[in-house]
């Protein structure tokens, strides 16, 4: 699996499902980098076949619409889209 880990402050398990071509996903990554949060991300469009299907199934558990970016925090909380205020508040 193509999971990329970014080092930073530990604020729980942060998983970002993104698309490599998406502007809002890029803004979300940049915000997490700015906040210095440790997180993992997967660019779902770069996955092929079954691997992509498996990740999409995982995303749909948290976000049935399967749109991007989808950020899952501690396997429970989900922030969909580049919600700058929500993200800042979450990691404040």
């Amino acid at each position: 699996m193509n999971v990329t880990h970014i080092d930073g402050k530990e604020k729980g398990k942060v998983m970002l499902y993104a698309l490599s071509t998406c502007g809002w996903c890029k803004k979300t990554k940049a915000l997490l980098n700015e906040l210095g949060i440790a997180y993992d991300y997967i660019d779902v469009d770069l996955l092929k076949g079954n691997e992509q299907t498996a990740v999409v199934r995982e995303i749909k558990k948290h976000n049935p619409d399967n749109n991007f970016p989808t950020m899952v925090i501690n396997d429970i909380k989900c922030i969909i889209g580049f919600k700058e205020d929500d993200i800042r508040q979450e990691f404040n």
């Binding site: 071509t21 998406c22 502007g23």
Partner: protein
């Protein structure tokens, strides 16, 4: 992922900007964001064979992705409601002039199951059961079927208030 050069991005930028402005549409004034999105469109064109929305996951099956080929089916209603399309490549006049703020918006595209259902259930409409109202530009006669008239007539550039409900 396919390589896209900055020359290709600039060329597409120029073409799309001219096309958009000529049709009464506007590209996102945030040039860095716009360049990223154009880069994404070019990547998608190379890997799928068509420029699908950079902010949506394409299947690679053109028939299934037709509605998200840029400009997508959802651009105009999103411009009306949120001042920007889903990826924000296109924005309303107010947003282009900095008078409206844009952001990440909800997905208007129906889920796959619903899209497939609508496709198979669609019947040929009769004049009394049209799925959308038809708007007429009183200046040039341009007709369009959509929820509301466009911001600017793409043919003669007349403003929205020159449109009338035709059917």
């Amino acid at each position: 992922m396919p390589d896209v050069s900055s020359i290709e991005v600039e060329q597409l930028y120029g073409e799309l900007r001219a096309e958009a402005e000529a049709g009464g549409y506007h590209l996102n004034p945030d040039q860095a964001m716009t360049r990223q999105l154009l880069n994404g469109l070019l990547v998608n064109e190379k890997r799928y064979g068509y420029p699908s929305c950079p902010c949506r996951l394409a299947t690679g099956n053109k028939d299934e992705d037709l509605d998200i080929i840029c400009p997508c089916d959802y651009r105009d209603p999103d411009l009306d409601e949120y001042n920007a399309c889903y990826c924000s490549l296109y924005v309303s006049r107010a947003a282009a002039e900095g008078k409206a703020k844009i952001g990440s918006i909800p997905e208007r595209r129906p889920p796959r199951e619903k899209r497939l259902k609508t496709k198979t259930e669609k019947k040929a409409p009769t004049l009394t059961s049209l799925p959308l109202p038809v708007w007429r530009c009183k200046v040039c006669g341009y007709l369009c079927a959509r929820d509301g008239p466009p911001e600017v007539c793409p043919i003669c550039k007349a403003k929205r208030d020159r449109f009338e409900r035709f059917i």
